[in-house]
Amino acid sequence: MLVEFALYHAWLVPLLPALAFGVIVFLTRPWPKLSAIVAVGSMAVACFFATLAAYGVFTNHEFVEKPLVYATRWFSLGLPGMPEVQIDVGVQLDPTSAMMLFMVSFIATFIFLYSIGYMEGDPGFSVFFSYLSLFGASMLLLVISSNLLQMFVAWGLVGLCSYLLIGFYSHKISAREAAKKAFVTCRVADFGLLLGLLALQIVFGTLNLTELSEKIAHFEEYTTFGMLTLIAVLVFIGPIGKSGQFPLHVWLPDAMEGPTPVSALIHAATMVVAGVYLVGRTLFLFHEVPSAMQLVAVTGGFTALFAATIAITQREIKRILAYSTVSQLGYMMLALGVGSLTASMFHLWTHAFFKALMFLGAGSVLHALHHKADVWEMGGLYKKMPITTWTFVIGGLAIAGIPPFAGFWSKDEILVATLSEGHYVLFAVGAFTAFLTAFYMWRMIFLAFFGEEKPENHPHESPWTMTVPLVVLAVGALGAGWVGTPWHNVWAEWIFFGHPHHGPVNYGAMLLSIVLAAAGIYLAYMLYLKDAKKKRARRLAEWFGPVYRMLYNKYYIDELYLWFNHALVDGTARLMYLFDIYVVDGIVNGIGGFAKLSGDGLRVFQSGRLQNYALIFFLGVLAVAVLMAFTGPSAASLVLGGVK
């Protein structure tokens, strides 16, 4: 009964936080606590409905086969000589969107709760919650959209909210710059997406997902293969920006300037996966174009590796997490590119839990250390902050891919999918990235939470509003993957593209990924935890000469690793980083700068002197006359030839 209601009123889920936004802005702004209650309450109720709806979808087998779609006419547009354009606004519920609906609202609820503790005492407390609510509403709207225009609107709103939230600490120049950068980069990408949508509308006459998927299945009736390829590439540009794929990932690490709950909400679990979700939603389009699939796969794989190499050298806790997000998003794209919606959405699902967990954990650390972010200056936090540490460790195990934690199952699924589609190079890239991921994550964990305690730090455990979400999410990070074990894969029966895929259990790949993850963790352990005496050892080595060094050849390996680390990985990462900040950033900033410069240049004409204006007016008259004489079909000959 209630499930039925939730299924057919799924639009309530985005509407509730949107209402909360309005209520906070217009009514409860002067009372921070009340605003927080409104925001958290509305999101919790939305989550309740979302859960019911998801339950309804997953238990009802017909919705797995055929999505539940209902819509109302938004506007229609009739033009002479063109077919009527009808734009609907509606809800499309299928396992994918139901999963997202539940995941987004669930994680948002706990991040909202966490924010109460984290933002305590901030002067913009109410405003922050209003932005958060609007953000949640837009993201949920995006998730349930039944057509691409509606999705694009929500997509734009999500971008706007992220801009507001990243720049929330507007007194910091870096925050303002980061917000601007995020906005500009995403707008550049959105432009590509918009062109793609326009082309889809023009070619196929609809933006409804279900209609599009039917029409694109036999696209030959409407357009050429080349045009379809172009459309697919244009549509993909949007996700490149939103999901931080190379080369438009530059905004994502900078966006960590926002308050940490924002980072967790936007840049880990929800917003950045919008791009992945969009590609997943339009997979029927990409599926028709093998080269576009190739592009998605290669972009994803490259981004995964690229971001992981950068993450190794970073020092700030949130920056490491940011690059790891970029890398994990690359995995999801890779999975889509090899055609496995199942694996991609599975990784999206597990990643949401453990990445939100780790961001909130990082927030808890920053909260305790008064925003000291360098992992080299931390250490030994496990004594004073047990809950944060152990939940963070669970997150670390999950992202590294240690069974039975959630990340293992989904990463394994991606690797198996890559392998079974015959992409051996991409498989190698993915596997190596898995190793790197384990390494840099555990480097961070060992440095920050274990080892010697730094005397100048006075950490303390965070309040319950912050630790409860940590514990809940840790449970998720542990168990969220169990729905999709290779032995009994319920997940693949719900979420798939085309037909559910049941391959044999690939023990080889499984073993390889466990070994790689363990190796990464072990390496990190050797370098950063065990090696606390490294300096003393080096002094001894100098005293006793080469023989001693031979005896302690263990250090040779370390040195080799270190050399490898510094000279090669670090060097490459450094190079990538430079490329990043100079070339890619340069282009993005250059566009903005050009607009401003030309504005400055053009205003010189506005001299304030009236007769100057009159002069320009008549220059305009002359210009129009010349234009008229040469653009009109008959005027030029009339004027030049002369008809008397």
């Binding site: 001299s607 304030g608 007769q611 009159a614």
Partner: protein, 104 residues
């Protein structure tokens, strides 16, 4: 024999229009610019009255049009002078080059 045709009037009108325009573009005194605008409007009147005679001699359209143009022009001069007086009280100047507080 050189007959006077419509073209003569059109050319005369164009020349008068341009003389007025020249004054508008180059005179410093606001009053001078105002009267040069009147010259431009008068050029239009020549056109209108000439067309009235040559094209629609019995309908008087052009003549009536030019009466309205004269009316509006007179009204404009009145308001323009009032503004010039007001600005003179403010800045003690009618030099148009001085009035560039509003710019960019």
């Amino acid at each position: 024999m050189l007959a006077i045709s419509l073209t003569h009037y059109v050319v005369l009108s164009a020349l008068l229009f341009s003389i007025g325009l020249f004054g508008v573009l180059t005179k410093r005194n606001a009053v001078a610019v105002l009267i040069c605008i009147e010259l431009m409007l008068n050029a239009v009147n020549i056109n209108l009255v000439a067309f009235s005679k040559y094209v629609t001699p019995t309908d008087f359209i052009g003549q009536i049009f030019s009466i309205f143009v004269i009316t509006v022009a007179a009204a404009e001069v009145g308001v323009g002078l009032a503004i010039i007086i007001a600005i003179y009280r403010n800045r003690l100047s009618v030099n148009l080059d001085d009035f560039d507080w509003l710019k960019w």
